[in-house]
């Protein structure tokens, strides 16, 4: 491993390739979108409040070396079940959100435990496993919400039921809790309005993460993330630590989804959670994180950049190509492309590092042997 302190320009470029590409794209798209800067900034502030919590939920599994937790969707589903019950029992305002979180909490702990255990059986393939697991649990969630709710579990608010008498409607109006967190204290600063309480909660979470990293458990997590075998030898319960990381991530995703949905004001019962993992992962990668290395700054840089692009690209597409669909497809292309690109760059670097390490061991005679079997 090279431990040179001074990074050359090319290392810098490859390290932050994704961020740089993104900044350039977004800057280029601002002019053709014809949006005012004030509007863009206000939208970014709103979306920071809406999304940051969800993105922070990704941090702990990365520390624990489990990659990007695509299984966070499980937490989002737990949050949605909580909100459905909050609407059902007519608990409104911010109390409704607390109620939803309390209902979601045990569900997300259970789901997180399931997710962690499944990932422990698929070490080295956590990301793809989490992704598929999210689909699998989504099927069970649909079964639960579409067939069990209203038939087995009594739902007394008939306004949220499908006309056939059981199953929850496709779109749930969250009127009773809409923006209840954001509007507790809405600071008007010039042309901008800032949801102070939402940001305070996000700040508290950041402080918690920073503090948690220094605790025994947090240190264990990072040790497991560095090298599972070494951690095991040092007496750290590897599997248990990994499960705890995923449970915490799932619980945070549950609360994050509730914050997200109270801002949106509508719950698409069967699809709101579909894109949760995708947006969160894209955001953290755009912010400069990689599969193994992340900081809290990455979260905020990522949310700002990704959403600035999401705000401008449909209109830029409309004005440049005469079709809003081009912009819409483009932004999805960028979202998926960013994830693909950073995963490729990361895997590529890891492979190179592995082959470098091997060739330095082997000496110069076979120094440039190809990297076969490095991942075997």
């Amino acid at each position: 491993m090279s431990a040179t302190k001074k990074k050359s320009l090319s290392t810098f470029l490859s390290e932050y390739a994704v961020v740089i590409i993104f900044v350039l794209f977004t800057l280029a798209a601002i002019a053709p979108s014809r949006l005012s800067i004030v509007y863009i900034v206000q939208e970014v502030i709103t979306r920071l409040g809406r999304n940051s919590f969800l993105v922070i939920a990704l941090l702990l599994p990365i520390y624990a070396g489990m990659g990007l937790n695509f299984g966070m969707t499980l937490g989002a589903m737990a949050g949605q079940i909580g909100l459905i019950f909050a609407v059902n029992f007519g608990v409104g305002d911010w109390q409704g959100l607390v109620f939803a979180s309390l209902v979601g909490l045990p569900i997300s702990i259970l789901l997180g435990w399931v997710c962690g255990s499944v990932m422990n059986r698929a070490k080295g393939r956590e990301m793809v496993t989490g992704y598929i697991l999210a689909f699998f649990i989504s099927g069970i969630y649909q079964f639960f919400v579409l067939y069990i709710m209203g038939s087995v579990i009594p739902i007394r608010n008939s306004a949220i039921l499908l006309s056939r008498g059981y199953g929850i409607r496709n779109t749930l109006n969250l009127e009773s809790v809409r923006q209840s967190l954001d509007t507790i204290f809405l600071l008007k600063a010039g042309p901008f309005s800032i949801p102070v309480v939402t940001f305070a909660i996000i700040a508290l979470l950041c402080i918690f993460i920073v503090w948690f990293k220094r605790t025994k458990l947090g240190q264990d997590m990072r040790a497991v993330g560095q090298d599972m075998a070494v951690a095991e030898a040092a007496g750290i319960p590897v599997e248990k630590t990994r499960i705890i990381a995923i449970i915490m991530s799932t619980v945070l995703a549950c609360v994050g989804q509730i914050i997200f949905l109270q801002n949106m004001g509508n719950l698409m019962t069967y699809s709101s959670h579909d894109q949760t993992g995708f947006f969160a992962v894209a955001a953290i990668l755009v912010g400069g994180a990689s599969v193994t290395r992340v900081s809290i700054a990455n979260v905020f840089i990522g949310v700002i950049l990704l959403h600035a692009m999401f705000i401008v690209s449909p209109l830029a597409g409309q004005n440049l190509f005469g079709s809003a669909m081009v912009g819409e497809y483009f932004r999805q292309f960028i979202g998926y492309g960013v994830i693909a690109l950073s995963l490729v760059l990361y895997a590529w670097k890891a492979k190179k590092a592995a082959s470098n390490a091997r060739s330095s061991l082997r000496g110069q005679a076979t120094g440039n042997g190809n990297g076969n079997g490095g991942q075997a």
Binding site: R121, G124, Y131, Q142
Partner: protein
């Protein structure tokens, strides 16, 4: 003769449950007013429709590249082929094979690039393949809007440009394989001879290929890369070949699918085609590093049988459509089972 326990261990509980579930659906069908002959005909039809897409997964599994979640690339090559074939007004067998011919260069090119990329990211193939597939599908969404196609059957009527989301192949090559030498018995039962012959032919070619020198080398790379390297096989080259073949079969597979289904589906349609194919081969008994022709044929039959029979039978019993939920749970559950299984064996 191996004993029963060993057989069950090897075959895996999920598959046995699915097998008996399917049997019970067939048994139940006549009692709930579902015609058995029509159902069997449907199952055969859908089996042929999907089989080649499932077959496309075999080479990459064998070469150790894992499940090809990037099959969407091959599907897109096929879409380019069939839209070009319609653009040039090719009809009948000419149109069908024309579509395959047009798809060939795209499939080879995409497959080659995709294979090179996967060689650079060994160990992370599956996640990356998935996202490469997704982002390419999105890129092509833009392309379908802006590429200069102008055949009136394909573009939006009022704008005169941009391809439709679904394009009918009715006047071109609909059911060209299905109807070839098809055997009709009664009003409801049709045996799609041509389709099944084509599937059989492709499966046989793959079977032969896996036994050829290149095929054996490929399997060697998949099962033990170090050993393969020691015996002078270039692992990167074999992997690239497997990806190219997989992508090409994906292209052929989607064209076969279209002629049976009757429509070309563009835009975001390729992405959701991939997971059912992956689930099917796993239900057939493949693992993420080993697959055979039997896995393909049995798996496609079981999975498509399940998808065909559950809506009709379960809906008649429960008076509600649960097929989508069952499909999600079964297919993703199966993939999950396969992803977590290898770990247990190697322990």
């Amino acid at each position: 003769m191996r004993n029963m326990k060993e057989f069950i261990q090897e075959f895996g509980w999920p598959r046995i449950i699915i097998f008996f579930f399917l049997i019970s659906l067939f048994v139940l069908a006549p009692f709930v007013g579902v015609r058995l002959d029509a159902s069997i005909s449907d199952v055969l039809n859908r089996f042929g429709q999907y089989a080649i897409l499932v077959l496309a997964l075999v080479p990459m599994i064998q070469a150790g590249c894992g499940l090809n979640f990037g099959l969407a690339l091959g599907i897109i090559a096929g879409l380019l082929g069939s839209t070009l074939s319609l653009q040039f007004e090719l009809k009948g067998f000419m149109g069908f094979f024309g579509a395959i011919a047009f798809a060939t260069p795209f499939a080879l090119l995409l497959g080659y690039g995709y294979g090179k990329l996967l060689n650079k990211v060994k160990g992370e193939e599956m996640t990356i393949a998935m996202y490469v597939g997704f982002s390419f599908v999105m890129l092509m969404c833009i392309m379908w809007l802006v590429l200069p196609f102008n055949s009136p059957t394909m573009v939006w009527g009022f704008a005169g440009k941009g391809l439709r989301t679904t394009i009918s192949v009715e006047y071109y090559w609909i059911k060209i394989l299905n109807n070839f030498l098809a055997i009709r018995i009664g009003r409801f039962f049709v045996f799609p001879t041509g389709l099944l012959l084509f599937v059989g032919f492709c499966a046989f070619c793959m079977w032969l290929f896996l036994r050829s020198k290149t095929g054996t080398a490929m399997t060697a790379v998949g099962s033990n890369p170090d050993f393969a390297r020691a015996s002078g096989v270039s692992s990167d080259k074999m992997r690239t070949i497997s990806v190219v073949i997989s992508t090409y079969l994906g292209a052929v597979g989607i064209i076969v699918y279209q002629q049976s289904f009757g429509f070309i589906q563009l835009y975001t349609a390729p992405s959701p085609m991939v997971f059912p194919a992956v689930a099917a081969i796993l239900i057939g008994g493949a693992s993420i590093n080993k697959a055979s022709m039997v896995n393909v044929l049995v798996g496609t039959f079981l999975f498509q049988g399940l998808l065909t029979m559950t809506p009709s039978v379960i809906n008649s019993i429960l008076q509600t459509d649960m097929s989508e939920v069952i499909r999600m749970i079964v297919s993703n559950g199966m993939i999950l089972y396969a992803l977590t299984r290898k770990m247990k064996v190697s322990k």
